[in-house]
Symmetry: C2
Subunit: 154 residues, 2 copies
């Protein structure tokens, strides 16, 4: 009985909801990454961009956006900041001048080794929870796909 509304009037408790659990663990990841990435002079989204570029250089803004689920409104200023930091170069594609291709600059290439250490630090922060990470990740992928499919249906 305690703290419950009339029948049919149940308001879901915040802590019971999956979306909130994800909202919170996203914040927690951000906090864990922040001090580590601050040593590299990167924010978390900037680090994601660098991860993609370390894997494949010379991508267009659109490619980066598809990989990270971000649009040009987010990426353009972010990439300009990375360029200002000397980590990447932004160059118009000569063949298709609509596209801007992002290349690692020397300094960005040099950060690659330090980037590898970041994951170790995060793995350590996860501690015992690291074991389940793989399965969790896959389940979250299913949730993501279900939500995106529903969004596309309008």
């Amino acid at each position: 009985m305690a703290k419950q509304d009339k029948a049919g009037e149940r308001m879901p408790r915040l802590e019971q909801q999956l979306c909130f659990a994800i909202y919170q663990v996203g914040h927690a990841f951000n906090r864990a990454y922040r001090p580590i990435l601050a040593d590299l002079g990167l924010t978390y989204p900037q680090y994601l961009v660098m991860l993609v570029l370390w894997e494949q250089d010379g991508l267009a803004v659109k490619d980066l956006g598809e990989r990270l689920m971000l649009d040009s409104g987010t990426l353009t200023p972010l990439l300009k900041r990375l360029e200002a930091s000397g980590l990447v170069r932004r160059e118009r594609d000569a063949r298709d001048e609509r596209q801007v291709r992002i290349h690692l600059a020397e300094k960005g290439e040099g950060l690659r080794a330090q980037g590898r250490c970041v994951q170790e630090a995060i793995g350590q922060a996860l501690g015992g929870a690291a074991g389940e990470a793989g399965r969790l990740r896959d389940q979250l992928g299913l949730v993501r796909d279900a939500l995106l499919a529903a969004s596309r249906e309008d």
Copy 2:
């Protein structure tokens, strides 16, 4: 062997990382909620605040912040927008004038019923993935706590 650097040089692929799965599913939730909440004139963080207030009215900004893991720098402008929309009132506590207590305004109270429908819509968007939501949520809670504990250790 395939697509692997020299020994010890493995750069973790974006898609294999738990943090990125959470980053993406957070975006996906946001997109799923946005059109639903737009009908109520709310953003997702604003909706979270309303959920808390529907559960317990008259909380101080600090209480809301602890519940949602947000600080005054985020909450103050958000609450001012909710006040401007006529959903809440912000009142200095007479006994402790440092605190600002947030009360549901009439319009905010009236939104309660519609708030209940939001969860149904999201549950529908989750589709088959909804069944696992409970266990997933609990596992994410463990991840969150591990990260926060590690953050506190500096």
